[in-house]
Assembly symmetry: C2
């Protein structure tokens, strides 16, 4: 099997870009990735592109050939839609395409524009990631869904709003030096606790923001990197994907995310590592409680113990296993169709040593990315390792 | 490389299903495919699912895990969106997944609900497959776009409305015995010519209808088929994909579809065949002119000669190369996210000998499917061959 490397990564600043189109955002991310990789767009064999709600936010479907054109590519282009895991799936298929020898160079990533919708529009747009018939029509929104998951967790394992506030505060602190982050300001535990309620027990600072942005990753075979003398020092050694029932009510328990557990098991087996080998992780903290569920699914904490991980220092920047050194979805922002690619970009920078937070993990050799769709009805996990 | 077989195919009746949900339609197609294949849903390693406008028509994104659940699967599930080529791309990725050994059994196909939208809603929904900024906002619709392509063709190569009417009449005749077809009635040349204008030179009977429906294909490795004693006598020997600039105005000429030419070249090379080897084809005739462009891109006719192919009898049921024996999108119907899978299902039935039109092509051994997105900004071509 062909060994897969990340040759370059590109991101736009995450935030509000009212003056930009989606194609413009993705073109910027792609150009950055090509410059970072020292690869020409004409070398790309396939584009794997993630987008979630472009047909609602920009009245634009069929975005893959459009984005290929914007990025200067002349190759087959495919759009993946897996709600907030769209770019994670796009990256995964890119890894598999290079592994199988179908292409030596794949551009994978994604884009989302959301801030051009008003709050109601964005809330309704995001809701299409849940079960329309059995959840959305009953009034469920994503803050509501994750609030149910948090309540179920608290009831089953215990936990407090203060535990969650430690996650928000940690991720905001991590985002401070990140030039791509939407929110680069500290949020204290008190400020998080005092923020207005959204869906009890979740308050405003338990939620990630609405974000525009794009991500792009140049994925190459190790042979291609060597032949072209590329500085592609990070390998993708594991990839996994899982699915679960769509509606929360159809699952065994609201406070477990088995799709992510399945994806993690598959990715760890693929990379021939275990959770103890992981040095740093980027996980899908669309809400603070989601980070708890993620680190438990990834095997970083036992069920019921993830809630204390930030508070006890396991997942802080100076902890044994820093989580979301980018700032996470919480503070860096969450342009849903781009997020899975952004996580790979941030991990790559962390492992290469050129992330502003690389100094917090100077010896990191193994990183894990966890990208989830909806209430984790789908999940994608990747393992990245320093290759040389 | 692992040899790939079609183990089973499933379709819903194409037409108007106001009483059905999307998940219900896909579950029916999947169950039919599993019964046809004699494969249990639990054997499926991955679901590749195509859908175009579900976020508009059913307020339902993130459909892949939902459809996996509806089909009784417990495996990773991914949605592909490539406008009207969504299921074509889903099948292509399924073929590549089985070839690479990532899974022995993949379920691929798609679903679309469209008739629950009114005509304006469907027209606007379909328009998201074009360039919103540079085409749709200028007033372009898909009938308008294909009318421009027809006009450009007529100007460059010649051609008449009567030539196009022969295509409509042929495909309606082909659909007569097809139990899955939306329209099973003859349309005479005169009736087609007399139908009301939609976008000159295209009239009503130059256009495919608005359709609900689903398709599902069980794709397996030849080894799996042998081990499980499956009757999987049709092989997928070639797959190709191409992309073009999104907006018609950015292309060299409106009357050529190079994305399809690229996809065909890739698929023929993959199968190690040429257009002369093809016995039967299913092509993307969303409008009559689209069939002309398709058969030229596939190499069945020289540029400028495809317009006469139906009229001169090349592509009729008793011609040298019957095209759209299913009835095509024109008469069988076009649930856009399902169509690419439907073409594979129809070709499989034709090559196996159990299609109601198999008697028209008793010696057919090689079939080609051509699935296009938008104004062929994307295209997927597959080659199927009788394997034993």
């Amino acid at each position: 099997m062909t060994e897969v490397r990340v040759a370059g990564v590109g991101l736009t600043r995450f935030g509000s870009h009212p003056e930009r189109t989606g194609r413009d955002l993705f073109a910027e991310a792609a150009a950055s990735a090509f410059a970072d990789a020292d690869v020409d767009p004409t070398a790309v064999g396939e584009l794997n592109y993630g987008n979630f709600m472009g047909s609602l936010a920009e009245h634009q479907g069929h975005q893959a050939p459009l984005m290929a054109e914007a990025a200067g590519l002349a190759c087959p282009a495919t759009r993946y839609e897996e709600a907030c895991a769209s770019a994670g799936v796009a990256v995964r298929e890119g890894v598999r395409t290079v592994r199988s020898g179908e292409a030596d160079v794949v551009l994978a990533g994604g884009m989302e524009r959301m801030t051009n919708l008003d709050t109601d529009g964005a809330t309704e747009g995001l809701a299409i990631a849940a079960d329309d018939l059995f959840e959305v029509r009953a009034g469920m929104t994503f803050p509501g869904a994750y609030a149910l998951m948090a309540r179920a967790y608290f009831e089953r394992y215990g936990g407090t709003r203060e535990d969650l506030a430690h996650i928000a505060s940690k991720n905001h602190e991590n985002a401070l030096p990140n030039e791509y982050a939407q929110y680069r300001r500290e949020v204290s535990i008190e400020e998080a606790l005092d923020s207005p309620p959204v869906a009890s027990p979740l308050h405003l600072y338990d939620a990630c923001p609405i974000t525009d942005g794009a991500s792009a990753i140049v994925i190459v075979s190790a042979d291609y990197a060597e032949e072209h003398d590329l500085d592609a020092s990070v390998a993708v050694t594991g990839t996994g994907q899982g699915a679960d029932r769509m509606a929360l009510a159809d699952r065994d328990h609201f406070a477990r995310t088995p799709a992510a557990t399945d994806a993690a098991t598959m990715a760890y087996d693929d990379a021939d590592i275990g959770p103890d080998d992981v040095d740093v992780a980027e996980v899908h903290d669309c809400f603070t409680i989601a980070e708890v569920l993620a680190i438990e699914s990834l095997g970083f904490a036992e069920a019921g113990e993830g809630i204390r991980a930030a508070r006890d220092g396991l997942t802080t920047a100076d902890g044994d296993l820093p989580v979301n050194l980018s700032g996470g979805l919480k503070a860096k922002g969450h342009p849903v169709g781009a997020t899975g690619g952004s996580q790979i970009a941030e991990l790559t920078r962390l492992l290469r040593g050129d992330h502003p937070n690389s100094g917090r993990v100077p010896d990191a050799e193994v990183g894990v990315a966890h990208n989830a769709g909806g209430t984790v009805a789908s999940a994608v996990v990747h393992v990245l390792e320093v290759a040389e």
